[in-house]
């Protein structure tokens, strides 16, 4: 087990946001975290990636307690791609990715041939090698996100934490990004907004609602019409898609649904 959270409770400005969370991620597993807005997804991830110290509970990475490790030591084990405010000053793509080497650097150490090699490998993994000398600001949203992933890869960690990585991306780039992460064969914990995307790519899901885990397991076992109604307040039609053999969710709305198809929605 690479990452484990036990009985974690965190609060922001004295307001409890998540309570008694248990979660774990096994090696080379792709674990998704889903939940409505304000459910505590982000808070949970922040607690995991060492930005928000929990009030109670234990988070371990590789059997070591995260909050006992230094920021730098944590950064050698866990790489994070998060939503970030826009970059203020421009860097080249190469420089951005090389920043991922920071946790491994000693005081005053300069970039070695090894760093350069890792930067190039990470960029070619995300298909951005030919962009290495471009300015980061001139990239499109999808390209920027891929550079961020490359930086996380250059960190050479055991686990990758993604905080809503596909936000602000169009369908094509969402799928491209998820494909990319999937093919990298790394251990991933990702907060995701799109339920179909989560069902399609994740090995296991945690559903969080009002700060508590309400369901966890394989997508096909836990994503039910009842759960989605209770947690996300939407009526859905869920089936296994014949092509993908994965759970597929269709959202239904009374306003749009043809009259003959309407069925009483039990509350």
């Amino acid at each position: 087990m690479i990452l484990k959270a036990q009985n974690v409770s965190s609060s922001i400005e004295n307001k409890t946001i998540i309570q008694d969370i248990d979660l774990h991620v096994n090696p080379s597993e792709f674990v998704g975290l889903i939940g409505p807005n304000g459910s505590g997804k982000s808070t949970l991830l922040k607690s995991v990636y060492r930005i928000l110290k929990p009030d109670a509970g234990l988070i371990t990475l590789d059997h070591q307690e995260v909050y006992r490790l230094s920021a730098k030591k944590t950064a050698r084990k866990m790489a994070v791609v998060s939503q970030e405010s826009p970059v203020v000053f421009d860097f080249t793509v190469k420089e951005m990715v090389l920043m991922g080497r920071f946790p491994q650097k000693h005081f005053l150490e300069s970039d070695t041939a090894e760093d350069m090699e890792m930067m190039e490998r990470a960029l070619s993994q995300v298909g951005m090698l030919e962009f290495r000398d471009r300015s980061f600001m001139s990239l499109s949203g999808g390209e920027k996100q891929r550079v961020m992933i490359a930086r996380a890869l250059a960190q050479q960690t055991k686990i990758l934490v993604l905080d809503e990585p596909t936000n602000h991306l169009d369908v094509h780039h969402q799928i491209q990004l998820m494909d990319l992460v999937k093919t990298l064969n790394v251990t991933v914990l990702a907060a995701l907004h799109d339920l179909n995307l989560a069902a399609y790519y994740c090995d296991r899901l945690y559903v969080i609602d009002s700060g508590k885990i309400v369901a966890s397991g394989k997508p096909e076992d836990i994503l039910t019409e009842d759960l989605l109604r209770d947690v996300f307040h939407v009526s859905t039609d869920i089936f296994i898609h014949p092509l993908t053999e994965k759970v597929h969710i269709t959202y239904l709305s009374d306003r749009v649904l043809p009259e003959k198809q309407k069925r009483p929605i039990s509350k």
Partner: protein, 345 residues
């Protein structure tokens, strides 16, 4: 290419310093300047046979040398602090005075110039109280911007503006109630910034502070780069954000406080030089810091030459020169499309 830039700038700085010392009412040959300089170096000095007059020696060594070197040190310090502050608050409009340093120093300086306060410090009263005022202002900003143990960028900048406003009001009030007219003129001169009256004695502390401060900042170049990307990313890449920001605030306040204490609040250098430098070498602080230091020094030496010569035998406050050169240049820079000034496109 970047090493070449640094090399060219070092040579330019050397030439600028030579010219800065040469130019003035009493003209001197460049080689005489450096002969005089070497004759003052212990041990080495005896090897040089003096072929200059005593008064030349006095003007060059005791008046012009300290003044030009102080200009170089002040320019270097302001440029370097400008770079660090812009990274700290992630705001391209930030300058070394954004956290209240200059307004705090003004209160101290004005109370000395007009009311003769702190007379017991003797000739250092002005510098010392200016420094105290600067440090007090920044500490006040630091504490007022802490809410719930955290300092946010926006609060830091807003607290800096608020404290600056309060302290400027105090300064204005003191000027209004000044008993004598000359006092007001002296205050105006000080607030615009000036290198007049530089002595070797005044050079030592600023030089040590600026050079060591710059070295400490250079050690943190990578961290500064990462800080520019964003706090969350910086934290997940292994930087202890709260500690690092406090460290930056105090270090930049210390450097700026020392500079303002000896030269007054010289504007524009700390804002303009970092932008110009980023335009040339990109945002990587490993190059931005040294290149800014050299550019700031060169710019300040020439600005001081203008301040001395334009209305000779009178002198202009150097702040007028930096603003008059800097303003139009900045507008030109701003209108170039290729530089974004941190704007999101």
């Amino acid at each position: 290419m970047r090493t070449a830039v640094l090399f060219v700038l070092v040579i330019l700085l050397f030439i600028s310093v030579t010219f800065g010392i040469m130019l003035g009412p009493v003209s001197v040959e460049p080689e005489v300047i450096w002969k005089i300089a070497f004759s003052n170096v212990p041990w080495l000095g005896d090897l040089i046979i003096p072929d200059w007059t005593k008064s030349q020696g006095h003007i060059i060594w005791d008046i012009r040398f300290p003044r030009v070197l102080l200009g170089a040190v002040v320019g270097m310090g302001l440029a370097v602090v400008g770079v660090a502050i812009q990274a700290l608050v992630r705001n391209p409009l930030a300058d070394p005075y954004i956290l209240g340093v200059s307004s705090g120093a003004s209160v101290g300086a004005v109370s000395v110039i007009i009311f003769g306060a702190f007379g017991f410090f003797g000739q250092y009263a002005l510098s010392f109280t200016a420094f105290l005022g600067a440090l007090f202002a920044v500490l006040f900003v630091l504490f007022t911007s802490r809410v719930g143990g955290r300092i946010s960028n926006v609060r830091l900048v807003l607290a800096g503006i608020a404290v600056s406003m309060i302290l400027s009001a105090v300064t204005s009030f003191m000027i209004m109630s000044a008993p004598q007219e000359e006092g007001i003129r002296a205050v105006m001169f000080w607030m615009m910034g000036s290198l007049a009256g530089a002595k070797w004695d005044y050079l030592f502390i600023p030089a040590i502070t600026v050079v060591s401060g710059m070295m400490v900042l250079s050690f943190q170049s990578r961290s500064l780069n990462i800080l520019l990307i964003g706090e969350k990313t910086a934290a997940t890449l292994g930087i202890h954000i709260e500690w690092f920001r406090k460290f930056l605030i105090l270090l930049t306040a210390l450097i700026t406080g020392v500079i303002v204490a000896v030269s007054g609040a010289i504007g524009f250098v700390g804002l303009m030089v970092p932008h110009v430098v980023r335009l040339i070498v990109g945002s990587d602080h490993r190059y931005v810091l040294p290149v800014s230091a050299l550019c700031g020094a060169i710019f300040m030496v020439w600005a001081d030459v203008c301040a001395r010569l334009v209305v000779a035998p009178q002198e202009l406050p150097i702040g007028i020169v930096t603003a008059l050169c800097g303003g139009p240049f900045f507008i030109w820079l701003m209108r170039r499309r290729s530089y974004s000034f941190g704007e999101v496109n």
